[in-house]
């Protein structure tokens, strides 16, 4: 048991996990406000990355100008999705709404590569490839930046929930009908949460796009994000943070030790295993509210 190896895996895993948490943040925000499981979040992240890349390559503008533009565009894209598709489904059985978000995911996953091309797109956001040593530990710079951005965004959204608009969102997530009764515009709040989901997705898409390139595989982040969201509790932002780190560490440490034994590829199933175990043992997650209807 090599301690340095273990710590290196754990630290890099934790940073990757924070970047997963960024995707999961969108799922949690939407679930908190409207009780809808947003299975389109992976595709949203992919679209966000594509949009930023496209804005950059079409205008030739530097990235610091393009990313805010992309964030704004995706904010309205998220709101648009809610307005056009999700709002019509209010009051329908939950199975229908889940299928609708899944349908959106598939649609976007087909549409984005068809529009912008399937070839892997490189996006350089100016992170040097130099190895970074903290003591004896080799840390991936891209992960470090990604983890930091994720931390900031999650902290911001925690802060946001203490603002006036955030209190409105909290009221909506508590009880939609009661919120309605005291004059809160519930539709607007839900639409806003979709907009935030779009923002989180863009940030995640850009970070992941700079790490692994932009193509449709970015939408596969969905399953990792779901694992994070479920483990943390679907309606807890703090849970996203903790669960993100946990999933990231597990995903990095387990393959590090198990892969040599089984011949590789364990990384892909850690998320699925986390989902199943969480649902078996503690379906409401680490920090979620215990209001799951059991049968």
């Amino acid at each position: 048991m090599d301690v340095v190896y273990f710590i290196e895996l754990a630290v890099n895993g934790a940073l990757v996990g924070l970047m997963y948490a960024l995707v999961a943040l969108g799922i949690v925000l939407v679930f908190k406000s409207s009780g809808v499981a947003n299975l389109a979040q992976g595709a949203l992240a992919m679209v966000g990355a594509y949009v930023v890349w496209w804005l950059g390559s079409a205008t030739g503008a530097p990235l610091w100008a393009v990313i805010p533009l992309g964030v704004i565009a995706m904010f309205f894209f998220g709101r648009g999705l809610e307005r056009v598709a999700l709002r019509r489904m209010v009051g329908q059985p939950v199975i229908m709404i889940i299928m609708l978000t899944l349908g959106l995911e598939i649609l976007l996953r087909g549409l984005a590569p068809a529009l912008w091309g399937t070839l892997l797109k490189r996006m350089d956001i100016g992170i040097s490839q130099q190895p970074l040593f903290l003591g004896d530990i080799l840390v991936n710079r891209a992960y470090l930046v990604g983890g930091a951005v994720a931390l900031v965004l999650i902290a911001l959204s925690l802060l946001f929930f203490n603002s006036r608009q955030g209190v409105v969102l909290r009221a909506v997530s508590d009880d939609q009908i009661a919120a309605w009764a005291v004059g809160i515009r519930v539709e607007r709040a839900i639409s806003l949460s979709w907009g935030f989901a779009g923002i989180a997705a863009t940030a995640a898409g850009v970070l992941w796009g700079s790490v692994q390139g932009i193509d449709w595989t970015l939408s596969l982040l969905l399953i990792k994000a779901l694992a994070v969201a479920i483990l943390g509790g679907l309606d807890s932002i703090a849970g996203v943070l903790v669960a993100g780190i946990a999933v990231g560490v597990l995903e990095s440490v387990i393959p590090g030790y198990v892969d040599p034994l089984v011949g590789g590829g364990t990384r892909d199933v850690v998320a699925s295993a986390v989902i199943l175990l969480t649902i078996l043992v503690r379906p409401f997650g680490l920090f979620g509210r215990e209001q799951i209807e059991r049968i």
């Binding site: 499981a37 609708l100 598939i106 399953i223 699925s272």
Partner: protein, 357 residues
Amino acid sequence: MFYRLAGVRHTSYAADRALWPVPVDRWQIRALLALAVGAPFLLPDLYLTSYLLPWLVWSTAALGLNLLMGWAGQIHLGYAAVMAIGAYGAIHAVRLGIPFELALLGSGLLSAAIGLVFGFAALRVKGLYLAISTLAMQYLVDWIISHVPAISGGSQATLQAPAFRFLGVPVAGDWSRYYVALAVCVLVTSFLLNVGRTSFGRALAAVREKDFAAAVIGVNAFYFKLMAFWCSSFLGGVSGAVLAFCYYRAVTPEQFNLDVSIQAVAMVIVGGMGSVIGSYLGAALVLLAPIVLNNLVGAFARAAALPLHQEVLSHIPLILYGVLIVGFLLFEPLGLAKVYANIRNYFLVWPFRHARH
């Protein structure tokens, strides 16, 4: 006028409860069956093997999934994994020398057993969690199949389906494979046509509508949800085995990935949840529409001299599934079955617009 309802008066409960109380429907079914049996004589082999056969097999699979989604109101995003278990189970069983009929049953039982394990985990919670855990099941089963050489024969391997006999007749040519698929499809269809008339089907419907209410009238919701999972997984396993033996004639892990699960779900939603004919229509639309649309767009691009990339064409199926799912959920949540029912209801009383029926 077309349905000639005048004079159709049922004098016994049995007649009134018949599957098709209207004589025209009975004739339609007989005609369809005759067409299905005679299809090898009527159609060129190419159409038989590349359109009709997959349609039948996928309709069987869609019916199995529809039992869970439409009749029991549960969701399953890992149906392709269930089918994969059936396909691999059957192929390994036949390779070990077990007769095909038994292997078919065995593959169904294997799928049902594994599906039940996941269902047991998933059904403790509802809706959303069920969706996510079946999604996790898809990934897990995919991974296990492709990483355990004893199952898949090594990574990237293809397992050929061995030669087999069905009811004592060697199944070798296109025709005999078609008839095997047809037989299974007819069996499954008749099961689903009748399931709504059994206590089991009624219990499922009660659970689907409201599980508390079902529990109040003495229906054990958990038990019946598990049973729905069991039955649906069984049918999925059998149809996966038929798909592997009669259509692909080989099996690789990629044939049963997540996209296939989504395709199956699309069939059920597009066709109409809880409808037998809907499963057929949905399977047809989901299978055929990408081919037709690809050809149409390709032809259009050539005619208009548009420089359309192969990339765009290759993404049309995915876009189409998405559009179909979203569009039907938003605009016709009951699917093609409802469209068919509307047309039928119109012609039931034609030339009048409204009539007691």
